[in-house]
């Protein structure tokens, strides 16, 4: 079952009244959506508010979502429209005059965009998370590091990774899991999820 089908299963759970399932979609796509909206709105504080509004709008519109497109494509459209509406209420226009779609947004390398305008505390936190993940990656055994890089950065399936690494699919699955757990173990003290962030 691919990513899109798994998302569709989550959507159907939400459509049957499971709000918690919507939380899983938020957790999965929040940073992508924030990156997208950050292309239109420069103020990081506003970006999160607009992203939240977009998620709420998506939740309200979910009964009409029939899976004709991937969930994230649909969500990104809502994100762009929400951001444009916000700009209109502020008497401003979106940065591009020729329109803006999710595919275009996905192509941007805008990792530094929010850092330029974010508060120092948030920039520091983001930087620490990035450095911790990178140092944890460096500390991984080569086979684990290769497996998770092929998956997360190259986007390959387990079958493709198994062919490249010349090992069974089960081994790929185990390596990727162990890599994630090793990185997460180093990340947890930094995150130390506050009670108000739990759900």
């Amino acid at each position: 079952m691919g990513d899109r089908e798994a998302d569709q299963l989550l959507v159907e759970r939400v459509q049957r009244g499971d709000k918690q399932a919507f939380g899983l979609l938020v957790a999965k796509y929040q940073r992508k959506l924030i990156r997208l909206i950050g292309r239109l709105i420069r103020d990081p504080a506003e970006v999160e508010d607009v992203a939240q509004e977009a998620f709420v709008k998506a939740y309200r519109a979910l009964p009409n979502f029939r899976g004709d497109s991937a969930f994230y494509t649909w969500l990104y459209r809502i994100g762009v429209n929400t951001a444009k509406n916000w700009l209109a209420t502020q008497g401003r226009r979106a940065p591009t005059s020729t329109g803006f779609d999710s595919e275009e947004a996905e192509g941007f390398d805008d990792a530094d965009l929010l850092r330029d305008t974010d508060t120092p505390e948030r920039v520091l936190m983001s930087k620490q998370i990035g450095e911790t993940v990178n140092s944890a990656m460096d500390a991984l055994p080569e086979d684990l590091r290769s497996a998770i890089m092929l998956r997360e950065i190259e986007g390959l399936s387990y079958e493709e990774i198994a062919q490249i690494m010349d090992c069974p699919i089960g081994t790929v699955r185990s390596r990727i899991f162990r890599a994630r757990e090793a990185i997460a173990t180093k990340l947890r003290p930094l995150l130390d999820t506050a009670p108000d962030k739990r759900w």
Binding site: E12, G23, R151, S157, R180, A184
Partner: protein, 163 residues
């Protein structure tokens, strides 16, 4: 078990396992924490901005006041197995057949009774000339000619020897 969660994130579980994993995510805060962490790691490796952001709890809190979403499932309609579709078709055919059979078995007797019912002789009413005249005079106002253009036509008599 979190190995399955890791595979779930990569879209590498089958539908049954995926459904089971989602059910577990619903019930386990610890499992959801792993879900968050693994997605954060993926975003960090891809160089995403805003790594410090976790707005899930905030969004869910905003949804508290929202009515619960309820929509008919497309999947449940489209994913019916061939067996269940065949069963439904067979049930429909059986139903139509039963109704037709009942109708067929009940109707011939009724038709036969109607056919055998004695027909009363229709006796024509005989009107004499005087009776007919009285009848026509009495019903003149109901005659079609009295309602239409004929009402305005002046009746004249023509002598045989006229002009």
């Amino acid at each position: 078990m979190t190995e399955k969660l890791s595979a779930l994130m990569d879209g590498e579980l089958d539908e049954v396992e995926t459904t089971a994993a989602f059910a577990r995510l619903r019930n386990s805060e610890d499992y959801r924490r792993h879900w968050n962490e693994y997605h954060l790691i993926g975003d960090a490796l891809r160089g995403s901005a805003g790594l410090q952001t976790d707005m899930t709890a905030r969004v869910l809190e905003a949804l508290i006041s929202e009515p619960v979403v309820l929509a008919p499932s497309l999947r449940s309609q489209s994913s019916a197995s061939p067996f269940s579709r065949t069963l439904a078709l067979a049930a429909s055919v059986a139903g139509v057949t039963l109704v037709a059979a009942l109708a067929w078995s009940g109707r011939p007797g009724a038709v036969a009774e109607v056919a055998r019912a004695p027909v009363e002789a229709q006796v024509p009413i005989q009107l004499t000339g005087a009776d007919l005249q009285a009848y026509l005079v009495a019903h003149q106002t109901h005659a079609p000619s009295a309602q239409g253009a004929a009402h305005y036509i002046k009746t004249v008599s023509i002598d045989a020897g006229g002009y």
